[in-house]
C-alpha cells in the first residue's frame, strides 16, 4: 500500500482478466463506475491496474424484510434507513476489469497482468499520477475493446473523461485526437460502433 491510499475493500474472487472486491464503504465513498483501482500482485512487487465495471449491492434477509415496508420520504423510517445505509453497511461487490499492470521497476504495461491479485488483498483507488501514466498511450483501451463481458464503450468513455480531466486544457485536443486515431484503427471493421463511440467521446 502507498501513502494516503484510499482503500476500497478486499479481493473476494479473482482471475487473470478481472476480480471482485468486497467493500463495506458508506455510500459517498463507494467508487464510481469507471474508477481506476490498484491491486497489489506478485508479493506486492507489482500492481495490477483495473477499472470498475460493476457495483452490486445485495440485501440480506434482514434488509429484505424491511425493504418492502420503509419509505425513504417517511420520517417514521428515518433512523432505520440510516442504520441500514450508514451503520450496518452491507457488503458491496465491486467488479474490476484488468487493464494493465505496473512492474517491479515501475514501468507500466497494457494488457493482462502476470497473475491475478490474491484473495483478501486490499484494493485502493489509483492516484491521479497513476491514471495519467497508465492512460498516456491509448493502448490502455485495448483490454476494453477486446472484452465482451463488460460495458466496454461506457467504460472507454468514463476512462477518457478521467484522462482528459487530469490533463491541462491545452493538451486535451491532442489527447482526444490520439484516442480517436487508436479507436479508428482498432474498430475499422466495425464502423457503426466506431461512429457511435467517437460521437460520444466528442462530448467528453
Amino acid at each position: 500500500m502507498e501513502k494516503q491510499d484510499i482503500l476500497v475493500g478486499n479481493v473476494l474472487r479473482a482471475d487473470i482478466r478481472s476480480f471482485v472486491i468486497a467493500s463495506r464503504l458508506p455510500e459517498p465513498d463507494v467508487p464510481t463506475f469507471g474508477a481506476f483501482v490498484r491491486a497489489p500482485i506478485q508479493q506486492e512487487q507489482a500492481a495490477l491496474i483495473g477499472q470498475v465495471y460493476d457495483i452490486r449491492l445485495e440485501a440480506d434477509p434482514f434488509m429484505r424484510s424491511i425493504a418492502s415496508l420503509v419509505d425513504e420520504k417517511d420520517p417514521t423510517y428515518q433512523e432505520v434507513i440510516a442504520d441500514q445505509r450508514e451503520v450496518r453497511l452491507l457488503p458491496v461487490e465491486i467488479s474490476v476489469i484488468a487493464l494493465g499492470y505496473r512492474d517491479a521497476a515501475g514501468r507500466y504495461h497494457h494488457g493482462l497482468p502476470p497473475q491475478p491479485p490474491m484473495l483478501l488483498r486490499r484494493i485502493a483507488l489509483c492516484a491521479p499520477e497513476e491514471v495519467l501514466t497508465l492512460t498516456e498511450a491509448p493502448e490502455f483501451l485495448g483490454r476494453l475493446l477486446e472484452s465482451r463481458d463488460v460495458p466496454a464503450d461506457d467504460l472507454i468513455r468514463a476512462a477518457v473523461r478521467q484522462a482528459l480531466a487530469l490533463r491541462p486544457e491545452k493538451d486535451r485536443a491532442a489527447y482526444r485526437l490520439k484516442i480517436g486515431r487508436y479507436l479508428a484503427q482498432r474498430l475499422a471493421q466495425d464502423p457503426v460502433r466506431l461512429d457511435e463511440l467517437l460521437r460520444r467521446l466528442e462530448t467528453e
Binding site: I66, T76, Q78, E79, D83
Partner: protein, 387 residues
C-alpha cells in the same frame, strides 16, 4: 450421520400429536376466552389468589382494570425518545478443546428517535481461569451457569449503557432499556453460592438502571406458561356468591399465549399482571418486583409477546408500547433494535474459528503447543469427510 430411518415412527407420533393439539386448542382457547371475558373484578381475583395454596404460581392483576380490557398505544413514540436494545451470546466450554475456555458476548444498539443513525456497540469476555471454568465440585461449568452469567452480563452492560446515555442526553425523559428475554430471574431455587451472587449482581444492575433514569423492559416472544389461565381456573372463595356455571377446567397444554392470540388485536395488550412466585418475591425484596402483560406484536397474524417491566416503571408504559409498536412494525412482530442487538451479539462458527486461531497463535508465541483431545481430532476429521 443422523439415523433418520430409526426416527420415522417417532416423527409420525410427533405430527399426530401436533394435529390433535391443533384440533383441541382452538376449542380450549375459546372456553378460556369466555372465562376471561366473564372474569370477576381484579379485587375478587386477588382474593381468590390469596385463598389459593401457598405454592400457587399464577398471576394477579396489578391495576383495577377489567382483565379482558385491551389497551393500545401510539404507533410511534414522541420525538427524542431514546431506546437501547441488548442481547447476548456465548461460546460454551468444550472439554475436548485444546484449551478450555468460554466466551460471553453482548451486542447493543442505541436507537434515538431524532433522525440520526442508531449506534451499535458490544463487549466480549474470555473466561479461562480454573476458578471460572470449574464449579465447587470440580465439574466443568454448565451451559445453564453460563446462560445465567450471560444474563447478568447483559443487564450489567445495559446499566452501563443507560448511564452513558443519561450522561449524554440529560434532558431525556427516560432511557428505555430493552433486553431479549424475561426480566424476572429464572434461576430462583437453584442451589449454589455462585447463583446467589449472580442474582445479587442482577438485582444491582436493575437498580443501577433505575437510578440512571432508565426503564428496563424484558421482551419474551412466544412465551410459555399459563399464569393468567391459572388465575382464571381458581375456584371462587366462600364469600363469593355461587357463580352461574361450573368453574372452568383448562387443558394442561393450553398456554396463555394461545388464548391471547384469539383475544388481542394487532398492537393490543392486556392490563398488567404480576406473578406470585418466589422469584418475584425475591425481586420485590430488592425493590424490583416485576409486572408483565401480553402484547399482540404481529402485523399480519398474531404474534404474542410477554412484556415485563418493574412495578416502579409502569407509568412509562405508554412510551414503552409506542416504541414497541414502531419497532415491531418494521419486522412484522419482533423489535428491530433487539434483532440488531442479536446481530451484533451473535458469535458465528467463523468467529469461533478465528478466535481459536488467535489462541493457537498466542500460545505459539510462548512456545506452547496445545492439542485437542483425540476424540475432538477424530470428530474434526469425520466432519470433513465427503459423503
Amino acid at each position: 450421520m443422523l439415523h433418520i430411518k430409526e426416527l420415522r415412527k417417532a416423527l409420525e407420533g410427533l405430527s399426530a400429536q401436533v394435529q390433535v393439539q391443533g384440533q383441541e386448542r382452538p376449542e380450549a382457547a375459546h372456553q378460556a376466552l369466555i372465562a376471561l371475558q366473564q372474569a370477576p373484578s381484579p379485587a375478587v381475583l386477588r382474593r381468590r389468589a390469596r385463598a389459593a395454596t401457598p405454592d400457587w404460581d399464577g398471576a394477579t392483576p396489578v391495576e383495577e382494570l377489567p382483565l379482558a380490557q385491551v389497551l393500545t398505544a401510539d404507533p410511534q413514540p414522541p420525538p427524542g425518545t431514546i431506546a437501547l436494545g441488548v442481547d447476548g451470546s456465548q461460546i460454551l466450554p468444550d472439554r475436548h478443546a485444546p484449551v478450555p475456555y468460554y466466551v460471553l458476548q453482548v451486542g447493543c444498539l442505541l436507537f434515538r428517535y431524532d433522525g440520526t443513525p442508531p449506534q451499535p456497540d458490544g463487549y466480549a469476555e474470555l473466561h479461562y481461569e480454573p476458578g471460572e471454568l470449574y464449579d465447587e465440585h470440580d465439574g466443568l461449568v454448565t451451559p445453564r451457569q453460563i446462560g445465567l452469567q450471560r444474563l447478568v452480563l447483559e443487564m450489567d452492560y445495559l446499566a452501563q449503557k443507560v448511564a452513558a446515555a443519561r450522561a449524554r442526553y440529560p434532558q431525556a425523559e427516560a432511557i428505555y432499556a430493552f433486553s431479549d428475554g424475561p426480566l424476572l430471574w429464572s434461576a430462583y431455587g437453584e442451589e449454589g453460592r455462585a447463583v446467589q451472587q449472580l442474582f445479587e449482581r442482577y438485582g444491582k444492575a436493575l437498580c443501577a438502571i433505575q437510578q440512571a433514569g432508565g426503564v428496563p423492559v424484558g421482551y419474551v416472544e412466544r412465551p410459555s406458561g399459563a399464569p393468567l389461565l391459572k388465575l382464571l381456573s381458581l375456584p371462587p372463595t366462600a364469600e363469593e356468591p355461587a357463580p352461574p356455571g361450573s368453574p372452568i377446567t383448562l387443558p394442561p397444554n393450553l398456554r396463555d399465549a394461545d388464548v391471547m392470540a384469539c383475544h388481542l388485536p394487532r398492537g393490543g395488550r392486556t392490563p398488567w399482571l404480576q406473578r406470585h412466585t418466589p422469584a418475584n418475591r425475591q425481586h420485590k425484596a430488592h425493590g424490583q418486583g416485576i409486572a408483565f402483560c401480553y402484547l399482540n406484536a404481529g402485523t399480519e397474524y398474531p404474534v404474542i409477546a410477554r412484556v415485563e417491566l418493574p412495578l416502579w416503571a409502569l407509568a412509562h408504559a405508554p412510551t414503552v408500547f409506542s416504541v414497541l409498536n414502531h419497532q415491531n412494525a418494521l419486522l412484522g412482530g419482533y423489535p428491530y433494535l433487539l434483532m440488531r442487538a442479536h446481530e451484533l451479539a451473535v458469535i458465528t462458527s467463523e468467529d469461533k474459528a478465528q478466535l481459536e486461531r488467535a489462541i493457537f497463535s498466542q500460545l505459539w508465541q510462548h512456545r506452547q503447543l496445545a492439542r485437542p483431545s483425540e476424540k475432538a481430532r477424530y470428530k474434526a476429521t469425520l466432519a470433513q469427510r465427503k459423503l
